[in-house]
């Protein structure tokens, strides 16, 4: 299939519609709908894409009430799975006219999902992903990563929710121990640990020793981790906590970890902390990785994952697509409402999402390298984890701490406890009553 598009201004989209009204009726119907909503969107001044103006228009966070992007995108996904090439061509072209990574939510979603759909249609997902990843890697530095994550944590509890819950569980599980070893497999650049170090220094009568072993997952540049490690060491010195920092990199995937490789000693009390880590494991290897974690004899394992299901539907493109669209619509809306409109950090997070979207929708399974990104829901993770562990509920104190944390952010966030009856465990962070992040604790 050969596609040619030029990057036109999205504002000219409406002039193309009239000439296409004679073609495929179904498509024309979509055209009409999109036309009206697209026109409405375009008539709004570009600068007014703040949540307040939008919500006053339509009561929804972004994209007005029409959600033209999701309609077009879903149509296109269906067309791809049906291999209807003229329809695909047409829809891709339309999306390209309307999409923009610098517009409102709909335009952004259209832009990034269009990229993934295009890659899927042209079977170029792997290459596209690699290129995007390379670009990102080259423009990231310790400073940019730090600025990004700290800013994100300042405006949204998306990551801090899991941090506070996990730290609480870890502190309680390891209370009284004098030699702690935390194995950290996460994507938050050690921003979880300063508050834990502070707690270790102040809460206990005798400050225990902490060894922190960070397992670098793909996508995090090693030089960044080196700098992060130095900061952690300095900070631990400041706190008066005896501290040792190690980085494990160069693994192809987590399954290659060993007790010796991690430096786990018999006299240590081990905690394993996985934030956004399990989803990077290839779906078929998840059970064995969980067994591997069990073999490290930890006192506690904390798992934090985003609440979405890209795994069970991985052989059903349309279903996977819909779920992906649902999740990232939430995410983008959340980003839009949390950051200021001109935020560079938000743009970087959106771009990161775009890479993940390409990865999930347009890349084949057998690639490994820790880039999988196929999320599962908390209840499914629970089922897997129960094969090797039993759940530890978060104590009232920890739940209180998390609630207190959420109070410090804009409204819209809430904590929901999992229903213990159908084997659910852990707690959920909800955004506008939709669960988005799941946190849980486990013991052997």
């Amino acid at each position: 299939m050969r596609f040619e598009f030029s990057r036109g201004s999205s504002q000219r989209g409406d002039r193309f519609f009239p000439s296409h009204q004679q073609s495929n009726d179904q498509v024309a119907a979509i055209d009409m709908q999109s036309n009206s909503s697209a026109t409405t969107n375009k008539n709004q001044p570009q600068t007014s894409h703040t949540s307040t103006s939008r919500s006053s228009d339509s009561g929804e966070a972004c994209g007005g009430g029409n959600k033209w992007a999701s309609k077009l995108l879903s149509e296109c996904a269906r067309a791809i799975s049906e291999k209807d090439s003229s329809k695909i061509h047409h829809l891709l072209w339309m999306l390209n006219e309307l999409a923009s990574p610098y517009g409102d939510c709909d335009q952004k979603l259209a832009s990034y999902f269009l990229q993934a759909l295009f890659c899927k249609a042209t079977d170029s997902g792997q290459r596209c992903f690699k290129t995007l990843a390379t670009v990102a890697e080259k423009s990231h530095s310790f400073d940019s990563a730090r600025k990004l994550i700290l800013k994100f944590q300042e405006v949204s509890p998306w990551t801090t929710f899991g941090h506070v819950a996990s730290n609480g569980a870890i502190l309680e599980a390891l209370d009284g121990e004098s030699k702690l070893h935390i194995i950290d497999i996460s994507n938050t650049f050690c921003t979880q640990w300063p508050t834990l170090l502070e707690a270790l220094a102040t809460r206990n009568d005798e400050t225990p020793r902490l060894k922190l072993t960070v397992v670098v997952t793909a996508g995090i540049v090693k030089s960044v981790m080196k700098e992060v490690g130095q900061r952690m060491e300095k900070f631990a010195r400041l706190m008066g906590v005896p501290f040792e920092f190690n980085v494990i990199s160069g693994l192809n995937h987590i399954g290659e970890l060993t007790k010796e490789g991690l430096g786990v000693r018999e006299d240590e009390a081990v905690a394993i902390n996985c934030v956004g880590a399990l989803r990077r494991v290839e779906v078929d290897e998840r059970s064995s990785v969980i067994q591997l974690l069990r073999s490290l004899s930890p006192r506690v394992v904390t798992i934090v994952e985003e609440e979405a299901d890209f795994s069970s539907s991985r052989y059903d493109f349309v279903r996977c697509f819909e779920e992906c669209l649902r999740f990232y619509t939430l995410y983008f809306e959340m980003l839009e409402e949390s950051f200021v409109p001109t935020s560079n950090e938000r743009l970087m997070l959106e771009r990161e999402s775009s890479r993940n979207i390409v990865r999930v929708l347009a890349c084949d399974e057998e690639n490994g390298g820790g880039e999988c990104e196929r999320r599962e829901r908390g209840i499914h993770w629970s089922g897997r984890l129960r094969e090797a562990f039993s759940p530890v509920g978060f104590s009232d104190d920890v739940v209180d701490d998390v609630r207190a944390l959420l109070k410090r952010y804009k409204s819209g966030w809430a904590l929901v406890l999992a229903q213990g009856d159908n084997h659910e465990s852990g707690i959920y962070l909800t955004w506008k009553e939709e669960p988005v992040v799941w946190a849980s604790a486990w013991k052997p």
């Binding site: 530095s141 300042e154 801090t160 508050t195 400041l238």
Partner: protein, 426 residues
């Protein structure tokens, strides 16, 4: 003697025999033992939960007012013109008493970890094992002791935390996280290491580069999490130590010296590296031209409009700086820096209340830390960057002051902080 002894005998599991051969010998310090490491000769007393929770057991028969201790009641009785009697300390040797926590799962349940005074064990039991009935509305923190809750409520949400970089935070947790990653923290240690490098570098031909930072001694080893409202009266002895070592000019020289090496290093990096190449150009060269790729994605950047280009550039500008830092790290590590913190000087960094582990820590840390200069002390040179990234980094906080001017840092801060971890409690 009376009431407590009676209760002792009625407790289950009470240990009235002295604890011999405790596994935790008392600390070397003369003043007081570390909490929970009792004198092995002491008499161990186990009180019941009920006893511990009871607060005002000594009641005045006239007005019913309760007191925690008999002495207080006696003094109160004077006000009613009642006969009172203060018990004298008996002349015969009184054996020291220590108290264990009745909660079996508690660390302090075991006699070897008993606490030394009655009030202490009462507070401990109530706070740790008591029901937390009192809850702060603002932050959801819960307390078992009402007075604790009251004290907290007065100050909750009113504190502001100020980092050395100038940013102010209303949330303690984000302050802590920021602090750990803040360049101001890195710079302190860099300056410390720079001082140590003076004694090592014999060559004198460093030209002074107008060092914008100056001798801002006050920032280092902030006890950090003290909110702004409390004035810190503990000045660091190390502070004056460094000042006496020669002040600004030496610092500038030392840093300038490092700079020269770094800049040379930078030159070599540039020539060898693809680092400074426009990252936007990279994908275009890597992407093989094919029929499928007539399509131009904005993220690839070839046809991006001008406003997009600007955003790309700001992120790429971060790039050379970070690599400069790495280069600096490489260069600086070539300089062998012996530990400035030989024992007598290093101890001066401690405040009086620091415990031994912190001292030992610093010693060890100094030996380790002194040999690797922190690369990001080049953060000071961000000011030279036209974009003023330094400002940009800290400008993102909603209540941030403008930290961009390093000249501000030259002013000595009156609130220099001490390092001890115990001061973190606020």
């Amino acid at each position: 003697m009376g009431a407590e002894e009676a209760l002792t005998s009625s407790c289950n599991g009470s240990v009235e025999n002295p604890v011999g051969g405790s596994s935790n010998p008392p600390a070397q310090k003369k003043k007081r033992n570390l909490p929970g490491t009792p004198d092995p000769e002491a008499e161990v007393i186990a009180l019941s939960p009920k006893t511990l929770m009871a607060t005002n057991r000594f009641l005045c028969e006239i007005c019913g007012k309760g007191f925690q201790r008999d002495q207080n009641l006696q003094l109160h009785r004077r006000g009613h013109n009642l006969p009172w009697k203060l018990k004298q300390r008996t002349n015969k040797e009184v054996r020291k008493r220590v108290y264990v926590c009745p909660e079996k799962t508690c660390v302090h349940h075991h006699p070897s970890r008993a606490l030394g005074d009655l009030t202490g064990i009462k507070k401990h039991f109530c706070r740790k094992h008591g029901e937390k009935k009192w809850k702060c509305e603002k932050c959801s923190k819960r307390y078992a002791v009402q007075s604790d809750w009251k004290a907290h409520s007065k100050t909750c949400g009113t504190k502001e935390y100020k980092c050395d970089c100038g940013t102010i935070f209303s949330r303690r947790d984000s302050f802590i996280t920021h602090r750990a990653f803040c360049d101001a923290l890195a710079e302190e240690t860099a300056r410390v290491n720079a001082v140590s490098s003076i004694s090592n570098l014999t060559s004198g031909n460093y030209h002074l580069m107008g060092n914008p930072l100056g001798p801002n001694m006050a920032q280092h080893f902030s006890s950090i999490f003290k909110p702004i409202s409390s004035n810190d009266h503990l000045t660091r002895q190390g502070h004056s130590l460094w000042m006496s070592q020669g002040g600004a000019p030496h610092f500038s020289e030392a840093m300038a010296g490092n700079n020269i090496q770094e800049i040379h290093q930078l030159g070599s990096v540039t020539s060898s590296g693809s680092i400074f190449r426009d990252p936007l150009a990279v994908p275009c060269s890597n992407t093989p031209p094919s029929d499928h790729y007539q399509f131009n994605w904005p993220v690839f950047g070839n046809k991006i409009s001008s406003n997009i280009a600007h955003e790309e550039l700001t992120s790429t500008l971060a790039l050379p700086l970070s690599n400069v830092k790495e280069a600096a790290a490489a260069a600086s590590q070539l300089v062998s820096v012996p530990s400035l913190y030989s024992t007598p000087q290093q101890k001066s960094h401690q405040t009086a209340s620091a415990n031994m582990s912190a001292t030992a820590l610093l010693q060890k840390a100094a030996q380790i830390g002194a040999t690797s200069t922190d690369p990001s002390f080049l953060g000071s040179f961000k000011v030279q960057d036209g974009n003023n990234k330094f400002c940009g980094l800290y400008g993102s906080s909603p209540i941030s002051t403008n930290p961009a001017s390093d000249m501000e840092k030259i002013k000595k801060r009156s609130n220099s902080h001490s390092k001890s971890a115990s001061n973190v409690l606020c």
